[in-house]
């Protein structure tokens, strides 16, 4: 085509054409079938780029995309059509269509298009295949998803249909329920090929499959093995080199592989068993198998990486459910600060959990006690990377004490401050309230933030104290006072218990009397496996009636109710 054609078509598609441009292009297209074909191809390219670009997909390509493209270049045509360019929108893919057409989309919703709305609102539905006759080919659907993104940027939402082909999750978790009822939890990064007929093949990454009655015989294939279910819950992982790990949580599986001698081998694995099958050595087709220790954390769920979330604390993973904590007088025999809550009793304990699927792995069970000399804080925290923090604010200026995994308890130690607490941080001030954060009650020495964490490099319990909504008067491991802290890791490595005793003088208060109420709030941070960055947190003990729980808004704090003897 001529430069003029390219120029005119380009201007038309970029929305910059004059009436004269359109007329000239009209004349070219009318006369020349080749020009029309070229124009249609250009339109198609424009639409694809526009769709791709709406979520930043053009500027944020991942290495994995490049690798996939390289494989495509090498002639591989297997796998599903990349969802991004086919029919999904990116995370922020609502785009102009959504923004401008909101009213009409709402009208569509009113006629009850529940599922269709998932598409029309710009959610990503990784459906892929339709027969030439227009029938949908469906192998299952996503039943849960948290922070789950597909290769190329598509976002997984619960309820989305899954069609046969290769599924690559690059972030988060997604639960896929197949048409036979098998539930598969996928943990990114993971690549799974789900055929129309037959069982899936795990190409990379990890999954946990739960097989219901009637679906026994379900099989997960990997590059080195076949794992055949006999009614169970099991995990399968494929390492970078192609080796396979199998671990059985419940029931029984049979793992099949090809031995080093070339013969077919199999091994029955019961609950609590685990094995690995190494990838074939180059030039040979054989694999070596061995038993390995059962490790629950092998398939444990970590919060997704930071991804697009730039909050230093990571996302909040819960809805507060607890408004008040009972603070019970400590037993006369005292509390031994040793990381074991056995001497506390269960009274006054509260439990707060993160949203599914993290509800069983990320939680806190908190308790508070007091006596004339000290406030006691105890907690059992579900944490797949427990006590990993390498953070030391003393060594690095501006480092956040909570960042590598921590429990923070905030308390307004002056009962006269009342509840809800009228105190607010400067970050909340606005033009109507320029005084917020500067008032005496905002800078009170009796608003205390206690950050507690285990510092792995030194093996010590650490305590950071700050005061007021302006966090003044910071103290690291306060000296001269008899505070104590202890941590103990769970036997299964999936959590920890902390126990602290903090003198009332650290809180600039005398021991409270029974019946007194202090505003309070709890925050738990979970870190990455290196204990350096917070991947997400939970906030509870909150006054939900006052809006989203924020440490900087005292009115959203819950309360600690001190009970009498």
């Amino acid at each position: 085509m001529s430069d003029l054609f390219d120029e005119l078509a380009g201007r038309v598609l970029d929305g910059a054409a004059s009436a004269d441009d359109v007329e000239r292009l009209d004349a070219m297209l009318r006369e020349d079938p080749a020009a029309r074909a070229e124009y249609l191809r250009l339109v198609n390219l424009h639409v694809a780029l526009k769709t791709y670009g709406s979520g930043g997909g053009l500027t944020a390509m991942r290495p994995v995309d490049r690798a996939a493209a390289a494989r495509d270049d090498a002639g591989s045509t297997g796998g599903a059509v990349p969802a991004l360019l086919q029919n999904t929108r990116t995370e922020d893919g609502r785009g102009a269509w959504w923004r401008r057409g909101r009213a009409r989309v709402a009208a569509v919703l009113l006629v009850g298009v529940t599922v269709a709305a998932a598409v029309m609102l710009g959610r990503n539905v990784p459906v892929g295949k339709v027969t030439p006759e227009g029938n949908i080919v469906r192998v299952g659907e996503f039943t849960r998803a948290t922070g789950a993104k597909l290769a190329g940027g598509g976002v997984v939402v619960a309820g989305a249909t899954v069609s046969p082909g290769e599924l690559e999750l690059v972030e988060g978790f997604a639960e896929l329920t197949l048409t036979n009822g098998v539930r598969i939890v996928l943990e990114a990064p993971v690549k799974l090929d789900v055929p129309l007929k037959g069982d899936p093949t795990l190409l990379a990454g990890r999954l946990v499959a739960t097989v219901p009655e009637g679906a026994q015989g379900f099989t997960v294939s990997t590059p080195t093995a076949r794992v055949v279910d006999l009614g169970t819950e099991f995990g399968v992982g494929v390492a970078e080199g192609g080796g396979t790990e199998v671990q059985v949580f419940r029931g029984l599986v049979v793992t099949e592989w090809t031995s080093a001698e070339g013969g077919k081998r199999d091994q029955r694995l019961h609950a609590g068993d685990a094995m690995s099958i190494d990838h074939a050595v180059a030039g040979k087709s054989a694999s070596a198998a061995r038993d390995i220790p059962f490790q629950p954390e092998r398939f444990v769920r970590m919060f997704p990486g930071a991804g697009s979330n730039t909050q230093p604390g990571g996302p909040v993973y819960n809805q507060p459910q607890v408004e008040s904590v009972r603070v019970i007088p400590a037993a006369a025999t005292g509390i031994r600060v040793d990381g074991d809550l056995a001497d506390w009793g269960a009274a006054g304990a509260f439990r707060s959990v993160c949203v599914a699927p993290y509800d069983t792995s990320h939680f806190v069970e908190g308790r508070m006690r007091y006596d004339g000399g000290r406030l006691y804080i105890g907690a059992h925290v579900g944490d797949p990377a427990p006590m990993r923090s390498t953070v030391d604010p003393r060594a690095a200026k501006d480092e956040y004490a909570w960042r590598g995994g921590s429990v923070i308890v905030r308390l307004a130690s002056d009962p006269k401050a009342g509840w809800p607490l009228d105190a607010i941080g400067t970050s909340e001030k606005n033009s109507k309230h320029p005084e917020w954060g500067r008032r005496p009650q905002d800078r009170s020495d009796r608003i205390v933030h206690l950050t507690m964490w285990f510092h792995r490099p030194t093996g010590k319990a650490r305590l950071h104290v700050a005061y007021g909504m302006d966090f003044h008067g910071e103290r690291m491991d306060p000296g001269g006072v008899a505070w104590e802290g202890a941590f103990r890791e769970d036997a299964d490595g999936l959590g920890y218990t902390l126990e602290y005793a903090i003198p009332w003088e650290v809180l600039n208060a005398a021991a409270p009397k029974g019946g007194e109420v202090m505003a309070s709030q709890w925050t738990v941070h979970w870190s990455d496996r290196d204990g350096k960055l917070s991947r997400g947190h939970l906030v509870d003990v909150a006054n939900s009636a006052a809006g989203p729980a924020k440490f900087s808004k005292g009115v959203t704090w819950g309360k600690a109710v001190f009970e009498g003897k």
């Binding site: 910059a16 249609l40 424009h46 053009l58 102009a96 006629v111």
Partner: protein, 182 residues
């Protein structure tokens, strides 16, 4: 043969409609954009047509071609749109629209293959080119904004974009030829 949808529940049908619409949305948008050379108008038309398709989905015969049906519905909306625009010179003449619509429908399958091939081509782009495309096709992107940011004329940016798009089209053709498309 009995209609397959007689056994389908409302939820099944909603799911089917959502899936089919999602599956063909990009193709449908391209189809409309080829007739109405304005992105915002094309989006509005597809949206209106989608709402009508939902209401009329019971008339859609399972087993027939959803995309062809969707194009028919969308084409009706395109014609309405053109009629409303009256003497506006920013739209193609009616007889050209008929021709483009016919040829666009016939090329739908290939267009899908081209979009798939595009991904690999994008990966091969150099970073400055991908950056420019990213800016041009971002939700709030515009040629004028790029020109302003880069201290270039809008015309120079158009030319640069055209060069990139031309390169991508060539790359796509090579890939499709390798896969046996004529």
């Amino acid at each position: 043969m009995a209609r397959q949808d007689e056994q389908l529940t409302d939820d099944d049908r909603r799911g089917d409609f959502a899936a089919l619409l999602a599956r063909h949305h990009t193709t449908l948008l391209g189809y409309v954009l080829s007739l109405v050379p304005s992105w915002s108008d094309a989006e509005d038309i597809v949206q209106d047509a989608s709402a009508v398709m939902w209401r009329k989905f019971t008339e859609f015969e399972p087993g027939t071609n959803f995309l062809a049906w969707a194009c028919q519905v969308a084409r009706f909306h395109v014609m309405n749109h053109v009629r409303k625009r009256g003497r506006d010179k920013h739209v193609f003449a009616a007889d050209l629209l008929d021709t483009l619509a016919r040829e666009s429908e016939a090329a739908a399958e290939r267009m899908e293959a081209e979009r798939v091939a595009l991904r690999g081509c994008l990966e091969k782009l150099d970073d400055p080119s991908r950056e420019m495309l990213g800016r041009a096709y971002a939700p709030e992107g515009s040629v004028n904004r790029i020109a302003e940011e880069q201290g270039r004329t809008a015309n120079a940016v158009y030319k640069a974009l055209n060069r990139i798009r031309g390169g991508l089209l060539k790359c796509i053709q090579r890939r499709l030829a390798a896969e046996g498309w004529s």
